[in-house]
């Protein structure tokens, strides 16, 4: 079981309140991603759940047990750190076995569990090596191995992929998702990368300045962002925002259109503009178009075949049904 509830928790560092009162419920077996820009309090929130920091007020319950005052070792949670935090003086086998050794398991049981985990994670050949002799991806797997042998109620991941190169990151993303499918254990995953959030999560928690901006499934956040911040944060490339007369026509203070919801034409359309930079990715082409009265260029995602050059005149037409409207409080207008 791994059902975690945060009730009105706050956290102050000195006089600074990094987390104002916050409520959150994480269901058993869910893959929850905390996402937000750096400094938004997502790692602090994870460390509060882990017990590595204590809450200033409020309560944390894990499976209906009050865990607020329980030390990290006794919460039944396992954590994978950004730096992997492997014990450099121990072999891979001893690293993975460490939580079992702390739990007082006998040698034979330790070895059986380590061997099983190593098999799942493709680490069998490396069990006698030291962490220093492994590649980044292998270290990451050792860290995960150390977490799974404990059979915890929930896994906590603190930006586990940020030290890997791009290709490896995609691989590990899949592996972690697969692991979740196999184990069906609650996972809480912290990242600043919305792509990781979108691809892995059952439920995304978007945080800004310690405040939860929205909780929902990836598609909910994509289709119905609650406010301008979430709208801008989720989705890649970022949503375009237009204010002033462009928005007034739709009865809003600001409107948002995703790059993939704008069509282009060289002869006619709603918004005339000039092509700035165009990025050809093969499958897609991203155009950055300057239009009158808007400071930032509008990003447009178009087909790979389009041939637009710097300085070309172009017309943009948004898909009206996919326009997001926000009021002057930046909140979504339904």
């Amino acid at each position: 079981m791994g059902q975690i509830t945060l009730k009105q928790i706050t956290k102050n560092f000195g006089d600074v309140q990094v987390i104002p009162p916050l409520d959150l419920r994480i269901d058993d077996g869910e893959f929850v991603v905390f996402v937000g820009p750096s400094g938004c309090g997502k790692s602090t929130l994870l460390r509060l759940i882990a017990g590595l920091e204590d809450v200033t007020s409020g309560a944390i319950t894990i499976d209906d047990r009050d865990a607020t005052e329980v030390p990290p070792a006794k919460r039944g949670l396992a954590m994978v750190f950004q730096s992997y935090a492997l014990y450099p003086h121990m072999s891979v086998r001893k690293n993975i076995a460490f939580p079992l050794r702390m739990a007082g398991l006998d040698k034979a049981a330790q070895n059986a569990k380590v061997d099983a985990a190593a098999k799942v994670l493709n680490l069998t050949d490396y069990l006698d090596r030291r962490p220093g002799q492994l590649s980044g991806g292998q270290r990451q797997r050792v860290a995960i191995g150390r977490a799974i042998v404990r059979e915890p109620d929930a896994f906590l991941f603190d930006e586990p992929l940020s030290n890997l190169d791009a290709a490896l990151r995609v691989n590990m993303r899949l592996e972690i998702s697969e692991l979740h499918q196999t184990l069906k254990t609650t996972m809480i995953y912290v990242t600043h990368d919305q792509v990781e959030a979108m691809t892995m999560a059952d439920k995304i928690v978007v945080l800004q300045a310690g405040v939860i901006e929205q909780v929902g499934s990836p598609l909910e956040l994509y289709h119905t962002p609650r406010n301008k911040f979430v709208a801008g944060f989720i989705g890649s490339p970022k949503m375009n925002f237009l204010a002033g007369e462009y928005a007034a026509g739709y009865g809003a203070a600001t409107i948002g259109v995703r790059p993939e919801h704008i069509s282009v034409s060289s002869s006619e359309g709603a918004w005339p503009g000039k092509v700035g930079v165009s990025e050809h990715l093969g499958s897609d082409t991203f155009l950055y178009v300057d239009i009158d009265g808007v400071d930032e260029p509008i990003t447009v995602r178009s087909s790979g075949e389009i041939s637009a050059r710097h300085g070309d005149n172009i017309y943009l037409t948004p898909d009206v049904s996919k326009i997001h409207r926000f009021d002057n409080q930046d909140l979504r207008i339904a």
């Binding site: 560092f13 017990g51 590595l52 920091e53 204590d54 030390p71």
Partner: protein, 288 residues
């Protein structure tokens, strides 16, 4: 950043060290202060009552005080001058490419590991002895009259012994500092056409200034407390009585504890003046 739990654990784990050092500092310090306001002669009547600042005045106005201050300053200043100048030169030399650098380094550092009583005795007898010392042989070889080092040039002799002990310390620290100098900086200045002497003056020396300050401060604290070297060579005679030695004599030899304690308070104040500067530098380093 930690939990309440680990913070209270931290406090408990720090306690033994803090309590011990607090006791080590406060108890003797309080006693010294206490005695310094008393006429206290353990062998001649013991505690003879409060005398106010009498000891402080008497310590400063005694005929031995100013000479001892002068001696202290000459020894500390002389040793600092010799070790810092030679230390900089030696550090630069050892930083040059040469064969057997590691071994030379070891040879140069070795004196630092020799216990003070040994180095003082070896120098006193085997080098400075006017009859059988190596210097006497050397002088005679050149037809000169051997020098009675410890009675004719006592301060110079002690400065030499102590400098020999502390030169390794200065060299080692300055060498470490030089090695942290970015060699590209030197090459850039070479490209800019700076001759060796101005490279030394404009780049190496400023880079070393912090290390030199640290060497000066740390050595000062240790040099103010030089004891064994005098204890086994001149016993404070021939004008080699430093402030430290004077206090030692007042307390243990003439058993005038009140007077010695007042002297001790002066020594503590003096050391603290130097210490404040050292701590500033170390403290700044902690922040970075």
């Amino acid at each position: 950043m930690a939990t309440q739990h680990s913070r209270s654990a931290a406090r408990i784990m720090m306690a033994p060290a803090v309590v011990l050092l607090l006791g080590w500092m406060l108890i003797p310090l309080t006693m010294t202060l206490y005695f310094s306001f008393k006429k206290y002669l353990p062998l001649r009547g013991g505690d003879l009552g409060w005398v106010g600042f009498d000891n402080y005045v008497r310590f400063v106005s005694s005929s031995a005080f100013w000479p001892s201050v002068q001696t202290t300053l000459i020894i500390v200043g002389g040793v600092l001058l010799i070790t810092v100048i030679l230390g900089v030169l030696l550090a630069i030399l050892l930083d040059q490419p040469l064969w057997g650098q590691g071994i030379v380094r070891i040879l140069v550092i070795a004196p630092f590991f020799v216990m003070p009583t040994v180095s003082a005795l070896v120098w006193k007898n085997m080098f400075m002895d006017p009859v059988n010392g190596l210097f006497a042989h050397l002088w005679k070889f050149f037809g000169a009259q051997p020098v009675e080092w410890l009675s004719d040039a006592p301060l110079f002799s002690i400065i030499m012994i102590v400098s020999w002990q502390w030169l390794p310390f200065a060299t080692l620290i300055l060498l470490t500092a030089i090695q942290s100098l970015d060699s590209e900086q030197l090459e850039a200045s070479e490209m800019d056409g700076a001759p060796p002497l101005s490279r030394f003056g404009y780049i190496i020396l400023p880079h070393l200034s912090r290390a030199i300050t640290i060497v000066v401060l740390i050595q000062t604290i240790f040099l103010l407390a030089v004891f064994a070297e005098i204890f086994v060579t001149t016993q404070g005679s021939f004008g080699t009585r430093t402030l430290t030695y004077l206090i030692f004599q007042r307390v243990l030899e003439s058993q005038n504890v009140g007077l010695g304690s007042a002297g001790g308070v002066y020594a503590i104040i003096l050391a603290n003046i130097v210490a404040i500067f050292l701590m500033r530098i170390v403290g700044k380093n902690l922040d970075s």
